[in-house]
Symmetry: C2
Subunit: 92 residues, 2 copies
């Protein structure tokens, strides 16, 4: 299933850990704080558990959406040519 993860997290380290977890679960970065990819239910559930553990008591919000193939066809991207979503990656 197409899975979209978006987040707004204050702490740089927590944000980086969330990004790392999305990557290691097979999602790719589409924006600074948004990851998308095709993963199965089991992987998505594992990702959700991990993200909840990482956020813990830190201030922030993570939202996970499933988007069916039919809806994905309506996705619109408005972007500058020089845009890369990797702007603020923090290596731990």
């Amino acid at each position: 299933m197409n899975t979209l993860v978006i987040y707004d997290i204050t702490d740089d380290n927590i944000r980086a850990k969330v990004a790392e977890e999305c990557l290691s679960h097979g999602l790719i970065r589409i924006q600074k704080s948004a990851f998308l990819g095709v993963i199965n239910n089991q992987v998505r559930k594992s990702l959700i558990r991990r993200l909840a553990k990482i956020l813990g008591d830190h201030r922030g919000n993570i939202q996970i959406f499933i988007i069916c193939d039919k809806d994905m066809r309506f996705r619109k991207i408005i972007s500058s040519e020089d845009y890369t979503p990797e702007g603020d990656i923090i290596f731990l």
Copy 2:
């Protein structure tokens, strides 16, 4: 249709204008740079046109997704209790 708008924009003013446009088209803020709401095709198309015009040649990326009601039921929110998405609203 459930419409989700997510963006990553460098310029504070452009970011604020995008937020304002999402609000004026009937979406609500769910994260600092994410808006969600139920709007019809005509309103969504108008919003997409306006967002493209606002971003213009500025650096950034805006993505618009449609999410059907069936998929919306799988939405997961992981959040701290003190989270508010209004953290950095800039009033123009």
